[in-house]
Amino acid sequence: MRYSYYPGCTLKTMAKIYEDTALSTAKALGLNLTEIKEWQCCGALYPLNTEEIFSFFSPVRALLQARAGGEDKLLTLCAGCYNVFKRTNKAVREDGELRRKINDYLEDDYIGEVEVVHYLEVLKNDVGFAFLAERVKKKLTGRKLAPYYGCLLLKPWAEMDLDDVENPTIFENFLTALGATVVDYPYKTECCGSYLSMANEDIASAAVGRILVSAYKNGAEAFVVACPLCKYNLEEYQKELFAAGREPQLKLPVVYFTEILAEALAL
């Protein structure tokens, strides 16, 4: 199986470690990733105003670039890109009017044919967690890790269709395959505050506080995430809560799942 790989803006800057560990672990697992040429922004947010078709051009062009590469599937890492691409694909497939307008403008014939997958999904379906467990060189025995899904990987459920939206298991099964102890807590699919960290910090801070306390009370030593924005919010607001002396006075490291994977594969 060959994959075209779409990094997205954050993975080349703030989340460089996410990309580095993803690429090195993929290589170690025998996955063939080709970064698509001259990729452009995914659009960052899925356009909710469906009459505003301009917002669709960016993700569709990115998907067209992937199609030009000719690989089987398009692999993404950032949960935001994954969310935008998957929902754009669904809209293009199901809304004939939207499809016609987009293609008229871009002078192309995209019908939603590029299959978009998340790296976690590839690990589950193409690599297989059982196979992955065999490849683990350094088992993460005794490590109490809290998977944090956030919202973009799973919601809206009818469009994302990655896992059970309220009781997902893909992250848990991944961590179990690496030998870690999975911490279950009720806030794992709650919003991290998202871009409210720029508009209304109190809301984002409160959201992070709840997630943090819940994970900590259930015994977590670290968060494992798949989204640069989740990582940013979890880290920044922990720092702030700590510095301001506000409850909760906690500090839990936040790591990408690829970092944990690289560690387990002893890379």
Binding site: V165, E166, P186, K217
Partner: protein, 659 residues
């Protein structure tokens, strides 16, 4: 040439207001074969009918056209009229100039023209009407009731009380159904078991009722008055004749499994009676969980049984009986919560369904009637009730309202305040629906006297927070987000049709709606009948309803059955399909479309040139045929005709309108 009489009805001003009767009468007089035209203010009145009879005799009419209301209204009346004047009742034709003309038009000129063309159509058809004769069929005067909940129990008792025989088939080892699981009933708070169990005993003791528990309907054949039904009597592994119901075996059985009756809150044994007041109060062995049947070793129950009633060798028995009518009363399933992960059901033991909560309230339930948290056995001080879980939810659940949840939630809130002093109920609702006698007053009592707080809004998520549950929702009246820390959450689960309702419908040749509830023949005027003659519905299998409605429907079904049985014989409907042998190609398209299973294959011998050949053709069972006409459309060679509505008659009607 036929001698046709046309009778035009004014229907007071109903027709005469929009249709110029004199003009219509003049036009009718010029139509082919019409020898007599008359008009009357009310043709259906005694005077109107006498006028028709007199005219038939005086003018030697041999076909009659009545231009009046819909045939649904008075066709039967007028058939009797022409019959009493010595004509075959099927010589009558009705032109519907009320519902299909005067009522839907305002322009008198156009209405008049349309009435004329409708009468011309009817005249053209009437000229081709043939005499048709109903066939007498015998009746088997024994009813089958499927389902032993309150609906089936009531229907069986009411039929049996009229003196006719009834067989009652129940899938579980005991009668009782859902009502047996309930604690108190709204709006009077009388105890469910106290009003149900005497009826269960009545069924068991009634001389006209044969009770088959642990049994299911396997196959249904036949038609109104003469159904043949095969019942699978599942191997109970306990000889009901020998068993004394002492309960020795129940205590000693080592295999445990979640109790269906207790909604999985406690375990039962593999040999079990579902609940203490079971009828019959004798156990059955659940072979899927029995240690002997799964491992080949154990036989403890046999050792302890003082009556030697355990029989591991028992096999399923198939019993075939004849029935004249069937009442379907198979009840409902509660909605599965797989798509409602946000409510933490199954993740936290103190999130319960309403039926589980009902068992906690019940004195014979797992807590002896005390409301205690499954997690730590403490009484909850605060309980959040979430309504419409799976109801009124097009995205994930049922689009319909389950109808009973508002009332039972009010009941739960009232009982909570009585059983746990100082406790507090919070009820999240979309709308509170309390249409029913004394229902609104009952709901009012919940919030006025019992202190329940009603919050209009949905709950987005329930978070287990240590021992407590954080309920996050919205109060849409204030627009505020609501977060409540409570001790228990009760989900008012929706009502689904039985998971296997479709399979049963197929066996019975009745239909289900998109939600798998059995379809009634008419939503208002025939709510108890199905489209298949002789099969009736009672209770929630037809659609969500509460106990009083269920009982009323069951009694209605019983009357329908008794009405059939009180006749000497049944007259078949003569407007049935008929196969013309020489045109039938035997491709059996008709059989595929027949909703009543009335068409079968038949082998016939024919002379072709000099030799005799055999071939298959279609055959119509006139007792099963309901005259829908689907086969006549499917038949490519046009070999199948519906009597009274033949292709030739219909073409004559089309010609009369178009030419």
């Amino acid at each position: 040439m036929k001698r046709i009489g046309v009778f035009i009805c004014w229907c007071g001003s109903n027709i005469a207001g929009t249709v110029d009767i004199d003009k219509v009468a003049a036009a009718a007089g010029t139509m082919n074969g019409v020898v007599y035209v008359d008009q009357n203010k009310y043709t259906c009145s005694e005077i109107g009918q006498a006028m028709i009879k007199d005219a038939i005799k005086e003018y030697k009419l041999d076909r009659v056209v009545i231009a009046a209301c819909s045939p649904r209204m008075h066709e039967n009346t007028f058939r009797k009229t022409v019959e009493s004047a010595g004509l075959n009742p099927y010589y009558l034709e009705i032109a519907n100039i009320r519902e299909q003309c005067s009522w839907v038009h305002k322009d008198k000129e156009a209405g008049t023209a349309k009435a004329i063309s409708l009468i011309r159509t009817a005249v053209a058809k009437a000229a081709m009407n043939e005499a048709l004769f109903a066939v007498e069929m015998p009746i088997t005067r024994r009813a089958l009731v499927i389902g032993g909940g309150i609906a089936g129990i009531q229907a069986a008792l009411d039929i049996a009380d009229t003196g006719f025989e009834v067989d009652l088939v129940e899938r579980e080892p005991s009668l009782g159904g859902r009502m047996a699981q309930l604690d108190k009933t709204f709006p009077t708070l009388d105890c469910s078991a106290c009003i149900l169990t005497p009826k269960m005993v009545d069924v068991a003791q009634h001389e006209k009722i044969r009770l088959f528990t642990y049994a299911e309907v396997e196959k249904v054949e036949g038609y109104l008055g003469n159904f043949t039904v095969t019942i699978r009597h599942r191997a109970r592994s306990v000889d009901l004749q020998k068993c004394t119901g002492c309960g020795e075996c129940l205590a000693k059985c080592p295999a445990k499994v979640a109790s269906e009756f207790e909604e999985g809150l406690v375990q039962r044994r593999a040999i079990y009676t579902p609940f203490p007041q079971a009828v019959p109060n004798k156990p059955a062995i659940d072979r899927a969980h029995c240690r002997f049947f799964t491992t080949g070793k154990c036989k403890v129950c046999q050792k302890v049984c003082p009556a030697d009633a355990i029989d591991y060798e028992m096999e399923d028995r198939l019993l075939t009986n004849g029935y004249g009518a069937i009442v379907v009363a198979t009840g409902f399933d509660t909605h599965k919560l797989n798509d409602y992960g946000e409510y933490a059901y199954g993740k936290h033991p103190d999130v319960l369904t309403s039926l589980e909560f009902e068992r906690l309230l019940n004195a014979s339930g797992p807590t002896g009637g005390k409301i205690l948290r499954p997690s730590d056995g403490k009484a909850p001080k605060t309980v959040a009730f979430i309504q419409c879980v799976g109801s009124r939810d097009k995205a994930k659940g049922n689009s319909y309202c389950a109808k009973i949840c508002c009332m039972y939630t009010a009941k739960h809130a009232i009982l909570l305040s009585e059983k746990v002093p100082g406790s507090k109920a919070f009820v999240f609702y979309i709308d509170v629906r309390t249409a029913g006698k004394d229902y609104e007053e009952f709901y009012t009592r919940a919030y006025e006297e019992c202190g329940a707080s009603y919050i209009k809004g949905n709950v987005s998520k329930v978070f287990p927070e240590g021992e407590k549950l954080l309920v996050r929702g919205v109060d849409v009246l204030s627009g505020a987000l609501v977060e409540l820390l409570v001790d228990m959450v009760v989900l008012a689960v929706s009502v689904d049709a039985r998971a296997d309702a479709k399979e049963l419908a197929k066996k019975l040749a009745v239909t289900v709606n998109e939600h798998k509830f059995f379809t009634e023949a008419h939503p208002k005027l025939r709510p108890v009948d199905t489209q298949t003659a002789g099969i009736f519905l009672a209770g929630v299998c037809q659609g969500p309803k509460d106990i009083p409605e269920t009982v009323a429907q069951a009694s209605a079904a019983a009357v329908k059955v008794a009405a059939i049985f009180s006749k000497q014989s049944l007259l078949s409907n003569p407007t049935v399909a008929e196969v013309e042998q020489k045109l039938c190609s035997g491709d059996m398209s008709c059989m595929a479309v027949c909703p009543y299973g009335a068409i079968s294959e038949q082998v016939v011998e024919e002379r072709r040139g000099r030799e005799m050949v055999t071939r298959k053709i279609a055959r119509v069972n006139v007792a099963l045929c309901q005259g829908c006409g689907a086969c006549t459309v499917a038949c490519r060679p046009g070999a199948i005709n519906l009597k009274g509505f033949t292709n030739q008659q219909i073409l004559a009607e089309v010609d009369a309108i178009c030419l």
